[in-house]
Each structure stands twice: as structure tokens, then as C-alpha cells.
Symmetry: C2
DNA sequence: GGGACTTTGAGAACGATTGCACAAGCGCGG
DNA sequence: CCGCGCTTGTGCAATCGTTCTCAAAGTCCC
């Protein structure tokens, strides 16, 4: 069982980074890692690694470091990655299609087990080895497959309704790719990924690098400005 | 020109939300918005909106609110959205393909003007109305199109090399979708979107909702836990 | 067995972000 | 022209997150 301790949100967001770094380390048959090395692999600093890991428990050995296999096990347990999660994607447009075929999910324990779309012309078509179900079938699909996690890959206008339907169907974790604010009841987790917003944030800092000029290339002065 | 004032990173990350909310508001021919209303539309609270906007300047009118058009103009200027940004995507796999066809970018001022891939069998193929260029052509492509922003949509193993090449070619802002840590020189902005990590974070909180049980559905107790 | 060296774990200082509370400013109606 | 109601802008306190620092605890070598 995961430790009952409260783990800060910022730490939770970094655990997957450590997990990934540890997987790479384990592949190289390395027995232990120091916080220093783990930090390099995860792209953070060592103090943060130690503090983050200390929230999970005292799993390191002073003078030695962390046992790779053991720490992997602890983190995967904490993240709930000891078993596969079935996932449903709603919206089989450009993005939904790509997400359905994205191998990165399966490789990390997330199985896309169902695709759903509101468009009747898409229902029944095959994507990979799945066939698209109707939006109205969502409750049955979710129940049958034991789905707790749903992905919204619809246009912005449909996002809130889809979220509501996902929640009604019993989904309690939602990843929203639609560029819209959606709200969910307490007890349902929601994360959002907005691709255009990421570019807009880059645009902000880019804008400030070449003051007054419309972003065309040339000898760009290397400002000391970074992006977190 | 953008105000010289330093704007906190957290605020910068929210400006695009306000921008989107204001666009919707403007569509409805509403002349002014209060911070309260803007907060609702952007999914944050009113105090935060006011504080964020105050970093840009005193653009509101007490007792009235913010002029929608004027504020839109100010924010788009600050974000550098007064002109289109040409963008190159490196890696034309599943994800690169979807990103190339994603309409959300064009709609917000980001034009995908070039696609690049290291695979010789992909070079020359057409995706939408673009043809895929070779990785070695990157410097020419970047220079010709005046590209400052690059998107990495390659497998993890290629990410660092691609980032290096983008930087060499003159790109100073990078959005990385590959599940790998990449480092860039000072002066180059880097943001990352890792799809699997988002799911893993959801998995963490999901895991804690149904203690001891392997995530299957049923009568899930509504915990008061949320995800930021 | 003991001393030098390494690395963790945690306390404390620091910095960033959030949320509260309220004065100041503006429009409107009388 | 004045007072009232509304909404912004901001000082302040609280919270959250990061970084520094160092004692404690282990290994390794002699």
C-alpha cells in the first residue's frame, strides 16, 4: 500500500521523471544510484531528488545511494504503476487518432482499451486494433473494461459535455487535451494539456529575446533568460 | 513594445488562458469584463486575475472592469501574438503527423511551415500541404523561413541530438514532446510535454482513491482529493 | 577496529506564489 | 455636485516550493 503521508504536488509531478531515469539505469544493470546521478538523469538538482524521495520514506543508504530495483518498486507502487490501467479516449480526430496509436502509453502501463466518438460516421471504424464506439455506449464501455481514466481529445466545444459523461460513466481521472476549461466534481482528478498554450508561453519568452523585431532569425543575442 | 517589467513565470503560464477567455468574450460582442467573470471563464479565482493583469499595467477601470478589445490587444502584444510564428516540427511519426495536421496551432497564430525527419524513406513524402525535408536541411529550412520555434516529436533516443541541431540551426525556443530530458544552452527556451507523465500523475491520485484495490471500477468513494 | 570518505535525510533559510482584505477610483443617479 | 455601489489594484500574511547546509550513518581501506 502507498504511504499515507501527504506528498506535495510538485513532488508527485517529478516522480515519473525519477521513474523514467531509474528504468534507464536499471537497463544498464547498475545496482545503485546516488541522488546526484539521479538528478542529472532526471534534469533536476540533487537536493530536490533527496527531498522528494524522503517523502516516500528513507529508502536510501548513506554513503551508498539508492538501490535501483528497490526504489523503482517503491515509486511504481506509489504511482500506481504495478498494474496496467485501462484508458478510454473520447474523440477520434487528428489528436485522438495519434494518441490511440502512440506507443508511449502502452510502454508505461496505460492500455488504450476503447475509443469513443460522437460522430455516427466514425462509429464502427477501426483504429489500430480497436473499433470506435458511440458516445452513448460510454457507460457500458467504462463498466465492462473497468476504466478509471479517460482522455478528452475532442474540439473545445464538446469538452465539458464529454467530461460530464465520463464522470457519469464512472471515470474518476480525466486528461483533457481540448483547449477549454472544464470543471469536474470533487473527487474527480483533472489534468489538462493545451498544445497551443505551450507554444504561446514559448512565444512570450521568444518575444522578449528580440525586442521590437518580428521574430525573424539572424544573429540572435543570447539573453540569459530561460523558461522553467 | 512589451513592458520591461518582470512577469512571474506562473503569471505567464496563465496569460494564454485569459487570452482564450477574452477571445470567447469578444465573440459575444461584450464590451467589458470584470475580473470575476474572467476568472470563471479561465478557471482561476478573481484575485489571481487581477494580480496577474496588474503585472501588465493598470489596464482596468475601477467600478467597470476591463475593456475586452483593449485587454486582448495588450495580452497578445505581451505574448507576442500580434504576428504569426513559423514553426518547424522534427519527427513525422504518429505524433508529428497529428501535430502537423492540428488546427489549433494555426488558429492561434502558429504556422507549421516545415516538417523534418531523419528517416530517408519519409523525406519527400507529403503531409497535408507540406513535404518532409531531411534533417540535414534543417539549417537551410530554419534560415529560409525565419523560424525561431521548433517542436521535437521524435522518439526519446533522438531528442537530444535533434535539440542540438535545432539550436545550431538557430532555433531559440523548443517544445519537446519526446519522453527524454534534453538540455539546451542558456538563451534557448525549452518546454516539455510528456503525455505518459500526465497519465502517471493521474494514476498517482487515482491510486489513492481506492486504497489497496487495483483500480477497478465500482462504487468509488468520493474523496476530497483533487489534482492541480 | 579505526579513520577517511561518501552520501543521505532533514532542519532552516530563502524565494515564489497565492489569497485576503481594503483603500482608492470610477460611474451613475438623484 | 455629492453620495453610493461597484470593481480594480496592491500591501500583507500565509502557504508552498526550492536551495543550502550539516550532522548522522554508512562503506572502504588499511
Amino acid at each position: 500500500m502507498p504511504s499515507a503521508r501527504r506528498i506535495p504536488e510538485a513532488t508527485v509531478a517529478r516522480l515519473p521523471l525519477y521513474y523514467r531515469a531509474l528504468l534507464e539505469t536499471a537497463d544498464q544493470h547498475v545496482g545503485t544510484v546516488s541522488s546526484e546521478r539521479l538528478a542529472t538523469l532526471a534534469g533536476v538538482n540533487a537536493a530536490k531528488v533527496r527531498k522528494d524521495l524522503s517523502y516516500l520514506g528513507s529508502y536510501g543508504t548513506r554513503g551508498v545511494g539508492y538501490d535501483v530495483e528497490f526504489l523503482l518498486h517503491q515509486i511504481s507502487r506509489e504511482l500506481g504503476l504495478t498494474h496496467d490501467w485501462p484508458v478510454v479516449i473520447v474523440g477520434v480526430g487528428n489528436l485522438g487518432h495519434a494518441l490511440a496509436n502512440y506507443r508511449g502509453f502502452g510502454a508505461r502501463g496505460f492500455q488504450i482499451v476503447a475509443l469513443v466518438d460522437a460522430d455516427p460516421t466514425k462509429v464502427g471504424t477501426r483504429v489500430g486494433d480497436l473499433s470506435v464506439a458511440a458516445l452513448d455506449d460510454l457507460p457500458r464501455v467504462v463498466a465492462d473494461c473497468g476504466i478509471a481514466i479517460g482522455i478528452i481529445a475532442t474540439p473545445a466545444g464538446a469538452a465539458q459535455e464529454v467530461a460530464d459523461r465520463l464522470v457519469d460513466a464512472g471515470v474518476t481521472s480525466i486528461l483533457n487535451f481540448a483547449p477549454a476549461v472544464v470543471s469536474v466534481p470533487t473527487g474527480v482528478s483533472l489534468r489538462k494539456v493545451d498544445l497551443a498554450i505551450e507554444l504561446q508561453i514559448l512565444s512570450f519568452y521568444q518575444q522578449r529575446k528580440v525586442p521590437g523585431v518580428d521574430g525573424q532569425r539572424g544573429d540572435v543575442p543570447r539573453a540569459a533568460e530561460g523558461v522553467g
